[in-house]
């Protein structure tokens, strides 16, 4: 009697032990079969990849690019830049007028047909509310600086809004492009923590549908949009935190539109169903010389450095050719960049000559230039975690060594880099980049009043450019501003307070199935290819569509 029960026991133990691997294999098999029978997608939608999740779907609180991009679809500003980034066109404001004077006044005449996504009408009270919330010290917003010169903002009637400035300040106009938030929904809420920031209600072409944390954010076409319902049914932002896998998702068509890294560009441009676009970005990378260091006070030294640094080589090897050599403090392709300023050529001979004029010669024959017994030696620093800057630094180090400069190149973690070196003004030279706004005003970076606490951390002081920067931000006339900024560009190119290295190209890939649709008078749909505008590829997003016959494709 005892033996069979022993056997049963044994069998039980063995079953428990070995059944689980078998179950596991069965599950695996079911899954693989399922994958073969996946259904095709049937919606007219655009899937965009984003490397990070959004933070605030509230335009006055958002700082990161993912949030800003979605806010741009859900919310409208009063005005926005035109497709050439030169002037403005109305969004929530039908028109506006600027009265210049010692205290300029801007009056916005608002649209009467704009509706919030919940059906309530949009009025000037919403604009005033948005402004008040930005100015409220309790609001955790970094946008306040742009409005500090506003003297007062008033609602004249439900469709007229007026701003008075304390002094002429033309870059201020740009700041009214900020998304307007609804007063009726946020009045009684704590703006910093309200659930509105995750379920936004705006006036824009797309209304918010769903946000699954760290996975996706979905917006759908707003049928009552004042400029017409968008042709796409919806837009999905997928969060793909890893760049290499992003590429794979593009290849399996899990993503329709995505930014592309320079190293991926060649591969991406060979994908048959993908079209790649490129455009100079709003910013540049530079080497900043600390003027508090005697080494860099001499203009000839700075000029010699720029001559000695082969920026074409840097663009070719570090950016895979996807960039332009910078000529001054503005991106090359916009109206305020002076087209007559040519890049300083690579010329190590001239660099040596200039340094010799400044008294730097190799007297002891060790290959390093010296003056009064001191060798030309300095520290070049940048932040770690940015491979492009690291590679630039290594090339610069080698190129400067060729003309007899001994450069020590160091990398620091970003917050240490900022706190101990940049903000402490404690460095010789640094590699950094500026991302700029569309308005050319860069007073905070260059004016000598900004040496102490602002962003002029290289302590650059030039009375003539100081005056021009001041003038530029007081002038409202675009033609006159252009003259001012062209002059600044010339002066800066001559003075070389930075070695302006390059303007990187922004590259993106979009599936070819997307087209622009335009309705002809006879109600016929005309499809056109999507093209890159100065203001970006997505400028005409509400006209994008996937033509019917392609929508159903598997």
């Amino acid at each position: 009697m005892k033996v069979p029960s022993e056997r049963k026991d044994l069998l039980r133990i063995k079953t428990i032990l070995f059944i689980s691997p078998i179950l596991f294999l069965i599950l695996l098999g079911i899954n693989i079969v399922f994958v073969g029978s996946r259904p095709p997608q049937k919606v007219n939608q655009l899937v965009i990849s984003s490397i990070g999740d959004a933070s605030f779907l509230n335009p006055i609180l958002a700082q990161d690019s993912a949030s800003s991009e979605i806010n741009g679809l859900v919310f409208n500003g009063l005005i926005k830049y035109d497709r050439d980034l030169q002037g403005f066109v109305g969004e929530l404001a039908e028109s506006w007028k600027v009265e210049e004077g010692p205290e300029p006044v801007i009056t916005f005449f608002l649209r009467k047909d704009a509706l919030w996504h919940d059906g309530k009408g949009f009025t000037a009270h919403d604009v005033k509310f948005t402004y008040d919330k930005i100015m409220d010290e309790k609001t955790n917003t970094v946008r306040r600086s742009s409005y500090e010169l506003v003297k007062k903002a008033e609602v004249l009637d439900p469709y007229t809004f007026r701003v008075t400035y304390k002094q002429p300040f033309s870059p201020g106009l740009e700041s009214w492009g900020i998304g307007i938030i609804p007063k009726h929904l946020l009045e009684k809420e704590d703006i910093n923590t309200t659930s509105f920031n995750r379920r936004p209600i705006g006036t824009g072409p797309f209304r918010f549908l769903e946000w699954v944390t760290d996975e996706k954010i979905v917006v759908e076409a707003n049928p009552r949009y004042f400029n017409g319902k968008p042709h796409l049914d919806r837009i999905i932002y997928r969060i793909i935190p890893e760049a290499a896998l992003n590429e794979m998702e593009i290849l399996t068509r899990g993503i329709d539109y995505s930014g592309v890294f320079p190293f991926e560009f060649r591969r991406m441009s060979q994908v048959p169903f993908l079209k790649t676009y490129s455009q100079p970005g709003l910013g540049y990378t530079y080497i900043g010389y600390n003027f508090k260091n005697d080494l860099f006070q001499d203009k000839r030294v700075r000029l010699a450095f720029t001559h000695a640094i082969n920026r074409k080589e840097i663009v070719q090897y570090v950016l895979y050719g996807l960039g332009e050599v910078a000529t001054g403090p503005f991106p090359n392709h916009l109206w305020y960049a002076n087209p007559h300023v040519k890049p300083i050529p690579y010329d190590p001979q001239k660099a040596r000559r200039l340094l010799a004029e400044a008294g730097w010669k190799d007297t002891d024959g060790d290959g390093i230039l010296d003056r009064e017994g001191k060798p030309f030696r300095f520290n070049l620093i940048t932040n770690s975690g940015n491979d492009t800057r690291r590679d630039v630094g290594v090339l610069v180090q080698r190129q400067l060594h060729e003309i007899g400069i001994d450069v020590k190149f160091e990398l620091y973690e970003w917050s240490v880099f900022l706190k101990n070196f940049i903000n402490a003004r404690h460095f010789d030279a640094c590699i950094l980049g500026w991302g700029l706004s569309v308005d050319p005003d860069a007073y905070e970076i260059w004016h000598s009043s900004q040496i102490e606490k602002g962003f002029n951390f290289i302590s650059y002081k030039n009375l003539e450019t100081d005056r021009l920067w001041e003038e530029g931000r007081r002038e409202y006339d675009v033609e006159k501003r252009k003259q001012i900024y062209w002059r600044i560009h010339e002066l800066m190119a001559e003075d070389q307070p930075y070695t302006f290295l390059y303007v990187p190209l922004g590259i993106s890939g979009l599936q070819k199935k997307f087209v622009l649709v335009e309705e002809s008078p006879s109600d016929q749909k005309i499809y056109k290819p999507i093209k890159m505008e100065t203001a970006g590829l997505m400028y005409d997003l509400i006209k994008w569509t996937v033509p019917k016959e392609i929508v159903w494709e598997k």
Partner: protein, 319 residues
């Protein structure tokens, strides 16, 4: 046993307070600030100072610590990064991490223990050597690299996306398809997470098994004529599994401690990624709360391991 548990609980509590104070000091002292992470010329220093004040960052460290505690227990603790309640942020991700880890632990235990027993039974056979080789391979291959390869291979073979927790469009899916889709997305990350653990645990089982079968009582059992199988699976196995059972205690913190690398590689919305992003953004409330939760779980895990020892092994007595 009762007084032992009480004493242990007290120590655990004191340790917890120590851990939270220490990690608070370390986090606050790390360079960097949650405000103005980039150099933006349009953000003036004045505004940064105002925001620091809004976040209480201008107060002394000890005051900030008590404020954090107070806010945590009154439910008013908000993330700096997106203004959402910290517990809500952690809550919505904890299940994702739990699911992934649970599945991978299931795989580990269901495959590794049979594998270990099998290897021990046929020590130095070809299959045992193969197992040893496989285990060392599993331990030494970097999991992110293996993940890339597996993802590439899967995508090439099936052309079906593997990233994330589920397909991003599932409206026209039936319920069965939704479940299968979730399983499909679980498969790769859990297998990769399991490989490392499996390699370790199968070795552990093998050596534990080998140790037990050399014991006198096993020889006695064999000598009195019990069938080989019975000796092996009934008498030896039970004793060999004793140390492995206590491993369950240590698994508890591992269950919610997300894997930063796997979660990033597979775009899995879990705790590991949340913690990592919070550290990068100097989102102190989130970092601190995750730290504390992890500490609590580690302590609970140790506690349970201690108790389990006593339950499964009658030789151990608590005073």
């Amino acid at each position: 046993m009762g007084s032992f548990i009480l004493r242990r609980l007290l120590y655990t509590f004191i340790t917890l307070i120590g851990i939270s104070i220490l990690s608070w000091v370390i986090i606050i002292q790390a360079p960097g600030s949650p405000i103005a992470l980039t150099l933006d010329p349009k953000v003036s220093p004045k505004i940064i100072a105002q925001m620091e004040k809004n976040y209480d960052l201008d107060k002394p460290i000890y005051q900030q610590y008590f404020l954090w505690l107070k806010k945590l227990f009154t439910g008013k603790l908000y993330s700096f990064k997106d203004g959402r309640p910290v517990l809500e942020k952690i809550g919505e991700r904890i299940w994702n991490t739990l699911l992934l880890n649970l599945v991978s632990i299931l795989i580990i235990f269901s495959l590794a223990i049979p594998l270990g027993i099998f290897s021990a039974k046929r020590q130095y056979s070809f299959l045992d050597n193969l197992g040893t080789f496989g285990a060392y391979l599993g331990i030494s291959i970097p999991s992110f690299w293996l993940a890339y390869l597996l993802i590439l291979a899967t995508v090439k073979l099936f052309g079906y996306p593997v990233l994330g927790m589920r397909s991003f469009v599932t409206e026209d899916f039936t319920t069965v398809e939704i479940v299968l889709d979730r399983l499909w997305h679980l498969m790769l990350p859990s297998i990769i997470l399991a490989i490392h653990g499996m390699a370790g645990l199968s070795r552990y089982t093998r050596s534990s098994m080998l140790e037990v079968i050399r014991q006198d009582y096993i020889r006695t059992a064999k000598a009195k004529g019990l069938p080989e199988e019975t000796v092996y699976y009934k008498h030896a196995l039970r004793n060999a599994l004793l140390p492995i059972i206590t491993l369950f205690g240590f698994l508890i913190p591992g269950l919610i401690g997300g894997s930063i690398i796997m979660e990033t590689v597979f775009a899995w919305p879990g705790i590991g990624r949340l913690a990592y992003q919070a550290v990068l953004a100097r989102d102190y409330p989130v970092v601190m709360t995750i730290n504390t939760i992890t500490a609590v779980l580690v302590l609970i895990g140790n506690f349970i391991a201690d108790i389990l020892y006593g339950i499964v092994d009658p030789r151990i007595r608590y005073q």
